[in-house]
Symmetry: C3
Subunit: 678 residues, 3 copies
C-alpha cells in the first residue's frame, strides 16, 4: 500500500473510537455509513487488543484491520491507530508473572484488567517492540492512517517492582552524588534515617520523608515519559513522516508529567470527561475527580490540555453519554453535548473524538455509553452528535486553526501537586488530609477567573509567559529562580496573584528557613510567622464584598503592602486576609486564605476593555479565540436551564445555527444553548 | 437404643438451641424443666463442638450427649442433632494448615472463628466423614432425635484455594467446550483477554469480566450444595428413614443457592433474625443486612424460606433477645416476640426455634442473647416466650399444616443478585456502587405489595406459578425461555409487573444487543434506547398519586402501552415512568423507576374480593393461611405502638387469646398486638 | 567531667525539646540565649538520632552533644538526655530485617518511620545496650544532666513476631498450668476451640475469644514495661544516683500499662497535647483521640499522669503551637498556652516542656510547630511562652511542690479498656462498635465531675484510696476482691458511683453467671436481667433535671435502692435509670445509662463546703492544690471567649499577674484568662 499524506483539512476533526472487534454481530458498512451521516471523519482503533493481534506468543493475526482501514479510506475518513501495549495478553502474563506491577505494600496486582504491568522491564519491552513492529509495520503506512497512538492513558500506577527500586537508587546517586549529600538535603538526621550507603535506602512503602516522596514521584513520572519516548522512537521508523505521534492522556494519572511526556509527541491528546446533567448547569462542586464537574471544570481540563505543549490538542475521549461505572448513568441533557464540544473548540481542541461508537455488551466498561447504545440503534444521542457534526462542518472555515485567547496565566507544577499530596495543607473533615488539596485550591481560583469573565492559560514554570495577570496558586516548591522571574514580571507591569502556601517550601519540598513567604516576601510586601487551619468558615470582608474565608489563614503582617480584606474574628481579625503591593509598574495580590466564590472572582475583575460579547448573567461564560485567518470568534455558553441574554457590542455574524448577520444589542441564549459569533 | 419414629404431632414445633456444653455450671434437669414449662418441645444440639466430640485426632468422646438426649426423651421433647463440621478443632487446623480458606487477595484466613476451611478439600472430607460417622452413628438413632442438621449456615466464603480454582477451569471446560467459545461468550477480545488455553485463565482476584464473575458465583454456590448433598448421603445411611435432614441456612451467604441446596434436604430450615424495638414498629428502612428490618423485612424472610422448597419450613434460629454483637443489644419490646412468631406461623413456619437457650459467658457471641440471660435466671423474655408457648399449644389444632395464601408471585434468582452485585445499577452516595441493589429493589416492591394488603410467594424461574400477579423486579439475566413463559402467562390473563433492568441482560450477564427491554419489549409494549441514574429524587405523578421517582429512569417510548405515571422534570418529563399494556387477557405494568412508597403500593392495589379481616390502618398487616383441615386463618398484626382497629366481615372464632367467638365489626388491636381468627 | 547533683530548685521546671542536630544552620548560642530570656531552664535532647550517635555498626560519634551540654550548664540549664533506641539506624534495619514488627495480619511493617522494631528481640537488645552504654556512659554524668529518658513513647504496636507469639504460649502456660485449665477458663468448648496442647494455640490474627484477647493485651503491655525496666537497669549503673530515670509516655499507646511501667521510673513523664482554639473554649466533644479536646480533656490527661505513680510528674511534651499533621494547624489563641500551663501546674505537673523549640524543615513532623517556627524568628508564640515563663518564675515559691486536691476518685483499669475495646458496649452509628467506648464513658463522667466543680484523682484498683466520692465507670472486669473493698468503703461512709457495665464481667472478661451487677448487686441494691442499647436518646428526668439518656439502659429492678431518675418511654419507663442505695454509713449511686451532661454533673454535686474561690459560670473551672509550705492555691480558669466572674470568699493574694492582695468579692476573669490566688 502506498502511503499518502493525511488530508490537511479545514475545521475540527470529529471522531469516535471504533471497536469493530468488540461487536457480537459487526456491520462495518452500516457503522461507517452512520458515521458519515453524522460527519464523523476520524476513527480511533486497535489499541486494546494485543491478544487479537498476537493470539499466541510470536503468532500474529494482522489482517482483520485492513477492511476497517480500507472502508475508512473509501469514505475519506482518517484513522488513529494504537499500539496495543497497555493490555498484555494472557499468554504473556502467564509466561512472565514477574511483569505484574508490585504495589507499595509489596503485593503484585492480580491480572484481569489492564495496565497492571511493569512497562520498564526489559522483558516486557522485548515483547512490546515485537508487537509494535508487527502492527504498525503492517498498517502504519495505510493512507487512511492519520497518526499512531502510543500506548494508552499511561502512568496509572507507581511501580514498586524491585528492579525499579534499584534503578531509583541509581537515579538518586546520579543526582546527589553521595549519600552524605542526600542525608543533608533530605534531613535524614531526623528520626535516625542517615544512610551509610545507597543500599541502605528504605523502599517507598514505609517512607515518611517528604523529599524522598517528591523524588520518587518525579522518578516515576520520568519512567512513564521515557516509555512513551521509547515507543515514539520505534514507531517513527515505521511510518511516513507526516504521521502524527500521540497518546491519549488521562491527566489525573499519578505517574504522569504531561508536559515532560508531550515532548515525545507531535500532538497532545487527552480525555475531557465531565459530569453532565445538573452538575454541568451548576458550578458548585468542590469534588476533585477523574472527570470534570461544572463548566469551569470542563474549561479547566481543556486549558490544561492546551498547556501540555502550549499548542492545540486532540480530545481523544469525551462523553458520548454515560461514563464509566454501572451505577452512574448520566446521559447529557439536550444541548449539553453541543455545549461541551463548542467549549473545547473555543479552548483549542482541533479534534473531538467520542468514546466510543457503541456501548459494549461485556467487559468492565459495559456501562460506558457509546454514541449508539447496546442495541446499536441510533437514538437521541446519535441525533445530537449528528446535528453537532453538521454545525461544525458548516463552521469549518471559521474554526480552522483556532487559538484560544488568554489574559490570566495559571502557574502549575507537578512537584507542587505531589508535595501537597504527601503533606496536604487542607482537611475536609477536620481531621484527615485532603489528598487533592493542590487541585482543589487551583480549581477554586480557576473558577474565580471564569466567574470574572477572564480566560486562562496554564503554564509550567518553564513555560512562563507574561500575561496581564498571573496566578501561582499554592506553588509550594517554588524555586528562587522562578521567584526572581516573577519579580521581574511584576516590576514590568504584571499583576501577580499569590496564595497561601506559594513559595513556602523549596525544590526539595522542605519548608524554607527564611521568614515566609520566603523568596516572595519582599515582592508581596508581607510576611507571616504563623498560619492557621480554619476548621469552620470565618466571615471575611473586603473589596466591597462580604464573604467567608475557608480552610486556611496566613497571619499576614504588611511590610509595604496594603490590606484589602479582613477576617471578622476575635483572633484572626488582627491579620489581613488579602493584601496588595505595588512593585515597579506592577502589582502583587497576596491571598492568605481560600475566599468564598464571590470574593475570589473579585480578585480577577479586570479593567481591560470588554470584547464583542459581554455578560454578567450567572452561569453564562464567554470565551474568544482567533482562527487562522486572524478573525476572532466569541463563544457564549448558557450552561443553565433558564434563558439568559448576552450583549453584542458590535455587528457580527453567527458561526453557529443559521450563520446570519447580527445587529448589536441583546443576544438571546436559550437554556443549554451556545452561540458563537465573529 | 431402639429407634422410634419422631412423634407426628399437631401444632407448631417450639424449640431452642441448647448448648449444655457451653455452661460453666450446667443443670440439665432445671434447664429442660424450664423448657417444658414454656412448652418448648424441641432442642437443637451439638453442631459446634467437633473438638469436644473428637478432642484428639481419631479419639472420640461421644457419651456426653446421651444424658441430654435421654432427658429430652423422658419429657417427650425432640432433638435436632447437628454434624459438627463447620468448626474444625485446633489439632486439625494445625495438622493441615492448607485447609484454611484463601481469600480473593491470596491470603489465608487466620484460624480463630469457624467456617474458615476449604470444605471441598479431600483431606477435610476424610476427617469430616469420620466425625459424622462417629457422632451420627452413635446418636442418630436415639428415639428423641427428630432429624439431623448437616453442617451449619454454609456458604460463608468464596473459596479461592488453588485446587478450587483448578476445579473451576474444569467446570468451565465442561460447560464451554473450548476456550474459543469462552472467548466468544465472555467477550474476551475486550482488553486483550482472549485465552489460548484453559491454563491461561486468570484467577478471580483481578477479574473485571461480568460473565466470569457470574460463572464463578454459580460455581461457588454449587460447591456448597454439593457439600451438603455429600453429608446427606452419608447421614442417610446412618439414621432411620424417618429422620429429617436439614441444615440451618443463612440466606445472605455469598456462596449459597438455597433452592439448589434444599434439594438435598427433607425440610428447609433457616434463620429469621430481625431488628426489634422501633425498627419493627416502622417499615422505613432501606438497609439490606443479614437481619430483617421492619415487618415487611420479616415477612419477606419468611416467604423466601417457604420458596426454597416451596414448602413449609423450620425456623431454626430467631431472636430470643439481642442478636449478635456487643454494641447492639435490642431486646424486643413486650409483644414483639409474639408478633414475630405468629407472622412466621402465618407464612408457613412449622417450627420456631430460638437461638439460644442461654446467653454464653464467653466466646465471640457473648452478647447474642438467649431466652435466659447470662445469669440463667428466667426474666421478662422467658415469660414472653412461655406465654407464647402456651398460646401456640392452645391453638395447636388450628395451626397444624398451615399453608400460606399468596396472590402475588415474586420472581427471584441468584444469578440476578450476583450479576447486579458485580455491576450494580444503583448508587446511594452518588458515586459508589450499591452492592445490595438487587435486594434493595426487590425489598421496595415487596413492601409495596404488603402495603397494598397482598400476600407474596417467591419463586425462582424454575418454580414459576401463575398467581394473579407476578413481579419480576430487576430480573436482569432473564432467559428467552422465561420471557416466553411470562408472555404466555400474561396472554392467559396474568398481571405481570416488570421493572427497570428486567430482561436487560442475557444469561451470561451480557447486556443484550436487542432494543431494550429485549425479550420483554413486545410484551411490555415499550422500548428504551437510554436510561439515566437519578442522583436526586424527581417528582412523579400518576395513578392518582403524587410521589417521587428515585435512583433510575428508563427513557420509555410506548409501543402500544399506555402511559400511567410521569416525571415532573424538564428532561425526563418527555418519557413516561410507568406504563400498562394489555396483552391477550392480561396486563403488563412496566415500572421504569423506583417509585416512592405510596405509588409502589398503588401498583399492587387489587380489585380482588377482601377476606375475613380487612384494614387500611397504617402499620397493620393481615395475612391468611389454610390449615390441614381446610380452615382459613387470618392473622392481623398491629406492629405500631398505637391502638388500631381492623374489621371483621363475618362471624369468626379467635385462635389467639381466649379463643372466643367474635361478631362481625371492628376488632381492636392493642399496640404490639396480634390477633388470629378463623 | 565531675558529676554534680541537679539543682534542686523552687518552682516549675520550664522546658523544651531541643534538636540542635535537626537545624540546617544551627546557632547554639542564639537558641539558648533566647531560651534564657523566656525562662526556659530545661532542654530535652538526643533521643531520636541513633544514626547520628552510631553512623556505622559499632562506630560511634558522641562528641557533638558536648557543646550543647556545656552551653546549657553555663546558663544554669538542665538537660534531659534520651537513649536513642526508639529509632534504629538504616544499617541495623538492613542487617537485621527480621527486627521489623510483624502486624496481626502477618505482614512486616516497612521501615521508614520509627518504633517499627521488635524490641523484645535479643538481637535488638544487644545493639540497644551497646548504644545506650556509649551515649549515656559518655554524657550521663555531665553536670547539666538532670535525668535520662529511656526510649520514647513506648508501646506503639502489638508485636506479632513469631518469637513473641512463642513466648506468649509460655506466658500462658505459666499462668494456667495446663491447656485443660485454659480450655475451661476461656470457654474453648465454644466453636470447637479446645486445645490438646499449647502448640495448638492459634495466633491472635483470627482470634475471636475475649479472654484470649485480654491475655494478649496484658502480655503485650508487660513486654513494654519489661523493656523500659531493662533500660533502667543498664542506665542506673551508668549515671550518678541522683539522676532521674523517666520516659515520655503517650498514654493512648495500645501496648502500655502506665502504672506498671512507671514502677521502673523515678518520675513519670508524658505528653499533654490538646486541641487549642475553639475546641478549648468549649467542652462539647465526644472525640477520643491522642490529643485532649476541651478543658476537661486536658485536666483528665493531667490527672491520669498524676495517677501513674500517684505523684507529681513531668509534662515532657505539650503544644507550643500546631501539633502533628500538615492539614491541622491550630496555633493557640492568645492566652491559651498560659491557661494550659497553669492547668497542668494545678494538677501536679512539676515540669512543663514544649515540643519543640523550632519547627523542623523536613521529616514527617514538618508541620508540628515549635516555639519558633520554620524561620526560627521569635513571634507571637515565643512571646506568650516568654511571658508565661516570667510569670511562673515570679510565682516560683508558691508553686513549689504543689499537690493537687481531689475529692472524687476515678477507678480505672487497662483491663477494662482492653476488654471493652474487644467487646464494645457502644455504637456511634447504630451498627459498628465504638472501639473507644471505655474512654468515652470515663470521659463523660469525668466531665460531669468537673462541671460539678469537683477535683479528680484517678486510681487503679491497686491504688484505691477512700476519697469522699469514688466512681467506677464501666469497670467491666471487676474482681471480687475489689468489689469487697468497695463495699467496705461504702459501709464506712463513702459515696460510690457505679455505672452500667461495672462489674458485669470477671477478670477473664467473661460475663458473670450471677445476676447482674454480680458482686455489686447487694451493694447497689439493684439487679437487672436485661439491658438495651438506646439507638436514639430517650428523655430522662430525675434529680430535679430534664435530660436525656443515651447509648444504654440497664433494666434496673430495685432491691433496696431508691429510684432517682426515670426514662420517659413506653418500654424503658418501667425501669429506673439511676438509683441510690444507703449501705452502712455510705451511699451507692447506680447509673444504668449514660445521662446527658446536666444530669451527669448533678450526680457529682456535693454538699461539701466551698473553698476560697467559687463559681457557677459556664466554662469556668476552679481547682486547688497545696504547696510545700502547706499553702492552698486556687486556680480559676475562664476557658471561654467572654468575660466571667468568680467569687472570692476571703481575702487572698494573687499568685499570677501583679501578685497583689485581693479583697473578698467578685473576681473578674477576662476571656481566655486564668487567675491563681492563695
Amino acid at each position: 500500500m502506498t502511503p499518502s499524506p493525511p488530508t490537511s483539512r479545514a475545521g475540527i476533526r470529529f471522531g469516535t473510537a471504533y471497536y469493530w472487534e468488540y461487536q457480537r454481530s459487526p456491520d462495518l458498512k452500516r457503522d461507517l455509513d452512520l458515521m458519515v451521516q453524522a460527519r464523523i471523519d476520524t476513527i480511533r482503533v486497535g489499541e486494546s487488543v494485543w491478544s487479537t493481534w498476537e493470539p499466541r506468543d510470536g503468532v500474529f493475526d494482522l489482517d482483520w484491520m485492513t477492511p476497517i482501514l480500507d472502508a475508512a479510506h473509501e469514505r475519506g475518513m482518517k484513522v488513529l491507530l494504537g499500539t496495543p501495549t497497555y493490555a498484555i495478553p494472557p499468554w504473556l502474563q502467564r509466561k512472565h508473572p514477574e511483569l505484574a506491577v508490585v504495589r507499595a505494600d509489596g503485593r503484585r496486582i492480580p491480572w484481569g484488567a489492564r495496565q497492571e504491568i511493569d512497562f520498564t522491564s526489559p522483558i516486557f519491552l522485548r515483547y512490546a517492540e515485537r508487537v509494535i513492529r508487527a502492527v504498525i509495520g503492517e498498517h502504519g503506512g495505510h493512507p487512511a492512517v492519520l497518526g499512531i497512538q502510543l500506548d494508552n492513558e499511561p502512568g496509572l500506577l507507581l511501580i514498586h517492582n524491585e528492579p525499579v527500586f534499584e534503578r531509583f537508587k541509581g537515579w538518586l546517586a546520579e543526582r546527589y552524588g553521595d549519600v552524605g549529600r542526600l542525608n543533608e538535603e533530605w534531613g535524614l538526621t531526623y528520626w535516625s534515617h542517615r544512610l551509610g550507603h545507597w543500599d541502605e535506602l528504605w523502599p517507598p512503602a514505609g517512607n515518611t520523608t517528604p523529599s524522598y516522596d517528591l523524588a520518587w514521584r518525579r522518578f516515576q513520572a520520568e519512567l512513564t515519559s521515557e516509555f512513551i519516548g521509547w515507543q515514539a522512537g520505534i514507531v517513527r521508523g515505521l511510518v511516513p513522516e507526516d504521521r502524527e505521534l500521540t497518546t491519549c492522556l488521562a491527566y489525573q494519572r499519578p505517574a504522569l508529567n504531561d508536559v515532560q511526556l508531550s515532548e515525545h509527541l507531535t500532538v497532545t491528546s487527552g480525555n475531557a470527561y465531565y459530569l453532565p446533567q445538573d452538575a454541568l448547569t451548576r458550578d458548585d462542586s468542590t469534588e476533585v475527580a477523574w472527570f470534570a464537574t461544572g463548566p469551569s471544570g470542563l474549561l479547566q481540563a481543556a486549558d490544561r490540555m492546551y498547556a501540555s505543549k502550549q499548542r492545540r490538542y486532540w480530545v481523544t475521549e469525551t462523553n458520548a453519554t454515560s461514563i464509566a461505572v454501572s451505577q452512574l448513568n448520566l446521559p447529557p441533557y439536550d444541548g449539553q453535548l453541543r455545549q461541551a464540544a463548542w467549549a473545547l473548540v473555543a479552548r483549542g481542541a482541533e479534534m473531538i473524538s467520542y468514546w466510543h461508537w457503541h456501548t459494549l455488551p461485556y467487559g468492565a466498561e459495559t456501562y460506558w455509553g457509546g454514541i449508539l447504545g447496546h442495541s446499536q440503534e441510533p437514538g437521541r444521542v446519535y441525533g445530537e452528535i449528528a446535528a453537532l457534526g453538521a454545525e461544525l462542518e458548516r463552521a469549518a472555515e471559521d474554526v480552522t486553526g483556532l487559538t484560544p485567547d488568554a489574559d490570566v496565566g495559571f502557574l502549575f507544577s507537578h512537584d507542587d501537586k505531589w508535595a501537597l499530596t504527601f503533606q496536604s495543607p487542607l482537611t475536609l473533615d477536620g481531621r484527615n488530609p485532603d489528598r487533592d488539596a493542590y487541585e482543589r485550591i487551583q480549581a477554586a481560583f480557576y473558577r474565580g477567573a471564569i466567574d470574572a469573565g477572564r480566560q486562562v492559560a496554564f503554564m509550567s514554570p518553564a513555560q512562563f509567559k507574561r500575561l496581564p495577570t498571573v496566578v501561582a496558586p499554592a506553588l509550594y516548591c517554588l524555586s528562587d529562580e522562578m521567584a526572581a522571574e516573577l519579580e521581574s514580571y511584576v516590576r514590568d507591569g504584571g499583576h501577580l496573584i499569590l496564595t497561601f502556601r506559594s513559595g513556602y517550601a523549596d525544590e526539595e519540598a522542605r519548608a524554607r528557613s527564611e521568614i515566609a513567604p520566603g523568596p516572595l516576601r519582599a515582592l508581596a510586601g508581607v510576611r507571616y510567622l504563623e498560619y492557621s487551619t480554619l476548621l469552620e468558615p470565618v466571615p471575611l470582608h473586603g473589596l466591597g464584598k462580604q464573604d467567608t474565608a475557608t480552610f486556611w489563614a496566613d497571619a499576614l503582617e504588611v511590610e509595604g503592602a496594603e490590606a484589602l480584606a479582613f477576617y471578622d474574628h476575635h483572633h484572626f481579625g488582627r491579620w489581613p486576609a488579602i493584601t496588595r503591593h505595588r512593585v515597579g509598574d506592577g502589582t502583587v495580590t497576596y491571598v492568605g486564605t481560600l475566599p468564598g466564590r464571590e470574593l475570589t472572582a473579585e480578585l480577577f475583575k479586570s479593567t481591560a476593555g470588554t470584547g464583542l460579547v459581554t455578560t454578567d448573567a450567572p452561569r453564562v461564560t464567554v470565551h474568544s479565540a482567533v482562527n487562522d485567518r486572524g478573525e476572532r470568534l466569541w463563544f457564549a455558553h448558557n450552561w443553565s436551564d433558564r434563558e439568559h441574554t448576552v450583549t453584542l457590542t458590535a455587528p457580527a455574524t453567527e458561526v453557529t445555527g443559521d450563520r446570519q448577520p447580527l445587529e448589536p444589542g441583546p443576544l438571546r441564549l436559550a437554556p443549554f444553548d451556545v452561540r458563537v459569533v465573529k
